[in-house]
């Protein structure tokens, strides 16, 4: 069930967007990532699940060059962007300025940024200040900022976690649509099993520093979570995350104390 062996056959290496082999990262002696292998193909959408503190975000930060690896090989494309859990917009720049941040200040950039804002449905908010935007709108600006650079690798660090349930569903659809159009390789870090199953081509579970599960999802989109194949996958993923299969109602809770409290 190792990710490396699962992916090594068949595909040409020129199609690889991310290659990780033997990755290790320690924090004060604790191995957060331990001999981790993962390959992501170009245009592939991979969701990475894991309990809090499992090292999901650490892996994403290493891919985004925000953290270092202690050992192992990590290869990523040159153009990669991150959408963080919080929007992280510059408060002193308007929405359009935030999308174009870091790009050369030209008319072409402006046009591209405007197009990116339109793509996330915020064409009318180009001149809005970040503090006037709602949580979902701000996160859409952050998404436009990530996509305007046409990344080969898009890193999503729980980008929907701080949104309300309805906005989250809408954002998921938006991300699915934008990824379908732009075809970047995507690594989505999340703890929401439903979200992973809805969006990803492949779902992996990170536990004790390694990928314990690596499943391909072949179901057609848009996906219906009631599909028996998806339900089975969902149960399996929850089990991998340490949630008992007979407690499907509490998908958000991954710890054992819940179980004890109920029994």
């Amino acid at each position: 069930m190792n990710a490396g062996t699962a992916m090594s056959g068949g595909t040409a290496m020129g199609d690889t967007a991310v290659h990780i082999q033997g990755l290790r990262r320690e924090f004060s002696g604790r191995r957060v990532l331990d001999d981790l292998d993962l390959d992501i193909q170009r245009g592939e959408f991979v969701a990475l699940l894991g309990a809090s503190g499992a090292g999901k975000t650490t892996l994403l930060r290493i891919l985004g060059a925000l953290d270092r690896a202690d050992a192992g090989t990590v290869l990523v494309p040159t153009v990669r962007t991150i959408v963080f859990q919080e929007p992280r917009l510059v408060p002193s720049k308007r929405a359009l300025g935030n999308v174009a941040v870091g790009l050369p200040n030209t008319a072409a950039t402006r046009e591209r940024a405007e197009r990116a804002l339109a793509e996330v449905g915020l064409a009318g908010h180009a001149r809005a200040w970040p503090h006037t935007l709602s949580g979902g709108e701000a996160q859409r600006v952050a998404l436009a900022r990530a996509l305007v650079r046409e990344p080969e690798l898009l890193l999503l660090d729980e980008p929907f976690a701080a949104l309300d349930a309805l906005t989250r569903l809408r954002m998921q659809d938006l991300v699915a649509e934008l990824c379908r159009v732009h075809r970047p390789a995507v690594l989505l870090v999340t703890h929401d099993v439903d979200e992973a199953v809805r969006l990803a081509d492949r779902v992996a579970v990170l536990r004790a520093g390694r990928l314990v599960t690596d499943e391909r999802i072949t179901a057609a989109r848009p996906r219906d979570l009631g599909d028996p194949q998806l339900s089975a996958l969902r149960r399996k993923l929850l089990a991998d995350l340490g949630v008992a299969p007979d407690r499907r109602g509490s998908t958000e809770r991954t710890g054992q104390p819940v179980k004890e409290a109920i029994s």
């Binding site: 020129g14 690889t16 985004g64 953290d67 270092r68 290869l75 990523v76």
Partner: protein, 278 residues
């Protein structure tokens, strides 16, 4: 790392290179901080020793050191520094307190801002040196005039920084704390002041520096003690060595002030990481 072989077989991919500041060792950090002043001192010494610097213009480091030593032995140095520091500290205490209170009022209450801000901005625009003759008329030529002058001079930077800092406190945080039943005073003390602490300390820093400048002006008012008095005497006898000692004393006072504020930063803001951000 086997990155090179990896790149060969994975065209177009690169190893991510994070730019992460490694924590510097304390010894290295201290050395770097001390290096600047020492280089300055060495340059001064070299210029004096090579004869490039005329002793009538600026005494050599050795002459200055011996002048300082003589002043120390006669006890003049200690008493001058003691008197001056006490003077500056007293003025600073009143000035900073006034600036703090006024700043919190205008920063936190709309009525306060409407009432107080424009007159204070008007007064702030006055150069405090121009007040020296007036203060002599109003308060005489005694100690009060000097302390009041320092207090007035130091209150404005503190006021501006405090008002700005208090205004910049996250209104959502204030709103949240209101719902938990914090009174206005508790809100200011427990939430607003800690949040505005960085501004308060930068205001304090400006005020402390200004207090030394105001001290020099204040000690021109018919003084018979303090560093200013020492300087006035040295000027009369063209003693560049003693003048330099006094200038260095002011510099040292400034340095001490800086250290005090740094220490205060650590004490007053235990929740903040120290050191500059990249």
């Amino acid at each position: 790392m086997t990155a090179d072989t990896g790149v060969a077989s994975y065209p177009g991919l690169v190893t991510p290179r994070p730019q992460i500041a490694r924590p510097r060792r304390a010894a290295v950090s201290v050395t770097l901080r001390v290096a600047g002043p020492i280089a300055l001192l060495a340059a001064w010494w070299a210029a004096s020793a090579s004869g490039a610097l005329n002793p009538a213009v600026l005494a050599s480091p050795q002459q200055v050191a011996s002048a300082a030593w003589q002043l120390w032995r006669s006890g003049q140095l200690q008493s001058a520094v003691g008197v001056s520091v006490l003077r500056a500290a007293t003025g600073l205490l009143f000035g900073v307190s006034a600036g703090l209170v006024l700043g919190v009022i205008t920063g936190f209450s709309r009525l306060g801002e409407e009432l107080l801000d424009s007159p204070l901005q008007l007064l702030r625009a006055l150069p405090f040196l121009s007040l020296v003759p007036l203060f002599m008329v109003w308060f005489g030529i005694g100690e009060e005039a000097r302390v009041i002058l320092i207090a007035v001079a130091t209150s404005f930077p503190m006021y501006v920084s405090t008002a700005g800092g208090v205004r910049a406190v996250d209104p959502r945080l204030v709103e949240a704390m209101r719902t938990f039943g914090l009174s206005r005073w508790a809100l200011v003390r427990q939430v607003v002041l800690p949040a505005a602490m960085p501004s308060l300390l930068s205001g304090l820093r400006l005020s402390m520096t200004l207090s030394v400048i105001a001290l020099i002006a204040a000690e021109e008012i018919n003084t018979t003690n303090g560093i200013g008095f020492l300087m006035a005497q040295a000027q009369t006898y063209s003693r560049t060595d003693i003048l330099t000692v006094c200038v260095l004393l002011y510099g040292l006072l400034g340095l001490c002030v800086d250290l005090i504020v740094r220490g205060a930063e650590r004490l007053l803001m235990p929740w903040r990481p120290t050191g500059a951000r990249r």
